[in-house]
Symmetry: C2
Subunit: 436 residues, 2 copies
């Protein structure tokens, strides 16, 4: 008999079906045994009646075992209907059960909250919970909606490299790789140079890229390996154009996940984010006035949270742009118009208290870029491949970079970004813990 | 004046427009200067007449400069129409030219074939050519079509890690990374373990993942960093189910790029690949009989080419599956049914002479997997995170992995897979050459 997916059971009322899935719940009531069974498409309640050939097997099955079940799909009597629950009006009367893959006894009740380290140690098991699957279903949809929106806006996606040849920016927070013949390589801290190079050919480029940060920092926000969703666009007038593209991408993404997953927002007791027609924009100085704090070159996490609270209360927005940071605090390739000095054309996007995106107009003139590299004490020779793109008609351009894990974490208001990473790497952990 | 994209010029006949783009060609005819100008959307011919205010600037502009041009869109006289060419029936009469970003003199004629090393050294410049952009436009579309097809088939996409904690499989071809506190990490050679772990929760998982190979091999097929498009699916009967999913994905991808880019296939003088209703399947032994060669445990590259020629001639297919390789030649997690020993449930997919995909049914039983790890002389303790997934109801499952660069290279019949990689890394190259 071919397998029927649980979402299609309604088409088989009164008939015998074969379903395959996992045992979420087993309730042994002595004479009868009830099961909640789930597959990739949904869940259904099954019952093994006293006279069923499956009754002995049913009493032995462990939670989270993979099983194949044959039985008939019956309408539930009116009084037993679970309103508002998928398949709440039907029940599977189980005739045979095959245990495809028996689960060992679970080490703890997986439906109760765990300490983060215990949770991460057991992620392969925790994927059996609805909460964990919800997080990565949401992430899958964010990823797809974000890329789709950029594609509709004319961006060509490319694969940005993870291995890079030099520790060009001179930061200490870079992982070193033993390469061939005693050469060293490094892990990319950003797809920045490569997406700019692509702009020289395609005008609009985007990439979903892994980036690596060797920061010795153990906060809830730091990971060694993260995913950035980047775009870069040419022939712009100023940073407002990438900000508008980002705004459209955020709108499209929020609309897609709001429409696709209302039940996940409900289960996480959070709301679909508010995105007004225009996301509010504050210069850094305006932001500091709103906060009533003195002029400083950057915002600290507490300020980011307070500004988001302000944007939500005053502008009905879960997002707020901050612009005009001092050039000295931004990456060397950030564009500064002499009339606007010492402020640059960079911007950050805050979402529910956290910076999830950073962007800017970039320097496009070759000689200005070389001069800026020298000013920062770096060696232009180490940038020669990147600089090549600027020799041949690089248009004014800009773009931005969104952290997928941060975006996912704030979407569901998770306390820790590590929960929004299927396989988080940090100072103490790669899969298991490093020091144990 | 707002910018008009070149693809939209037909809506502006008789009107004045502002376009921005690059100078592909400049033909100075003494009194008049003709330009071919391109942007992300298309190309158009422009002319600067003798009395135009732009004539002096026009005579100085270097090829590949980025310019902004104002002028009027005119219908060409009947005799000047270029049939079958986009915008072949209109011409831009240029009134003003602003050089946004002047190109330096090109180091060579970028429209003629180059030695591969010279080509790769100048990739940022070569992105200005139609040929190079065609390759990465095709790759972008393959990537998107492949993922879309898997999404439609119910797969959840996740981000597989690049940093892994142990050199678990004991291969020498693994890059080592200096991690925190004197710990070592390694670069992933495959997303295999992680997609299997995801199957434990999602039943169907997929990922586009960077993988890294430290093989000291300098053939046209070897790269240090490649992109794999992977999927894995649970509750299967045997390897035929992932083969069917792969077949559907290949069909959808070929249909999408065939429909989307007929002009690229034309420019590369190749055909849209042939995919019959059922891609032919040969066991390794059958393949060796077709070739008239003795029984060996694997195929060599020459055999792969000959089998593809056979499939094309006999089955009207540019693709052919090879199945039933000896278990000993496949990865330790490959499923072997005792009745089928010593052959495994692995498969390869060949495309135009090259293996582009490898897949299998996998072992799903925890104890069998542990025994197989031991048989291969490996330490199960080093696999404990991975093995955790097999303790809790791992269903029978299988999947496959397609190399994006190889798929792209054979799609356009490129002589070298490095041309199908925007930023190739190999023994001698990361961006520039390593030893120079």
């Amino acid at each position: 008999m071919p397998r029927t997916l649980i979402k299609d059971l309604h088409d088989h009322i009164g008939k015998t079906v074969l379903i395959k899935g996992w045992v979420s719940v087993r309730r042994d009531q002595g004479k009868m045994v009830f099961f909640d069974i789930r597959d990739m498409s949904g869940a259904v309640q099954g019952v093994v009646l006293p006279k069923s050939a499956a009754i002995d097997v049913a009493k032995e099955i462990s939670i989270e075992s993979a099983i194949a079940v044959e039985g008939s799909i019956n309408k539930r009597p009116e009084k037993n209907i679970s309103e508002g629950k998928a398949n709440g009006d039907i029940e599977l009367q189980i005739e045979t059960i095959e245990v495809i893959s028996a689960a060992q006894t679970l080490p703890f009740d997986i439906t109760t909250p765990l300490h983060l380290d215990t949770y991460l140690d057991h992620l392969p098991l925790m994927l059996h919970t609805e909460r964990t699957r919800d997080i990565f279903t949401m992430q899958h949809s964010i990823l797809e909606a974000y890329r789709s929106s950029l594609r509709r806006q004319g961006f060509t996606e490319f694969m940005s490299p993870a291995l890079v040849g030099g520790d060009a920016e001179g930061g200490s927070a870079v992982f070193k790789v033993d390469y061939f013949n005693d050469a060293s390589a490094y892990l990319a801290t950003s797809p920045q140079f490569y997406k700019q190079i692509m702009v020289g050919g395609f005008e609009r480029s985007c990439t979903v890229a892994k980036v690596f940060r060797a920061e010795k920092s153990a906060t809830t926000r730091h990971l060694s390996e993260i995913t950035q969703m980047d775009f870069e666009m040419g022939f712009i007038e100023n940073e407002r154009e990438p900000m508008r593209v980002l705004e459209q991408t955020i709108k499209d993404t929020v609309a897609a996940v709001g429409e696709g997953h209302p039940e996940i927002f409900e289960r996480f007791e959070t709301q679909i984010p508010l995105v007004p027609e225009e996301i509010p924009v504050l210069t850094l100085r305006e932001a500091q006035k709103v906060l009533g704090v003195p002029e400083e070159p950057d915002l600290d996490p507490e300020h980011e949270r307070a500004l988001c609270a302000w944007a939500k209360a005053e502008k009905k927005s879960d997002f707020v742009f901050i612009t005009r940071f001092p050039t000295a605090t931004r990456a060397f390739y950030t564009y500064e118009d002499p009339a606007e000095a010492p402020y640059s054309r960079g911007f950050d996007l805050l979402f529910r208290g956290l910076e999830i995106n950073s962007g800017a107009q970039r320097i496009h003139d070759h000689d200005t870029l070389v001069a800026r590299i020298r000013e920062r004490g770096l060696d232009p020779l180490k940038f020669s491949y990147y600089l090549q793109a600027f020799k041949y008609g690089m248009p004014p351009h800009g773009g931005s970079s969104t952290g997928l894990e941060r975006f996912t974490a704030r979407m569901l208001e998770l306390p820790n970004v590590k929960e929004a990473t299927a396989f988080p790497r940090d100072m103490t952990r790669i899969d298991g813990r490093l020091s144990e």
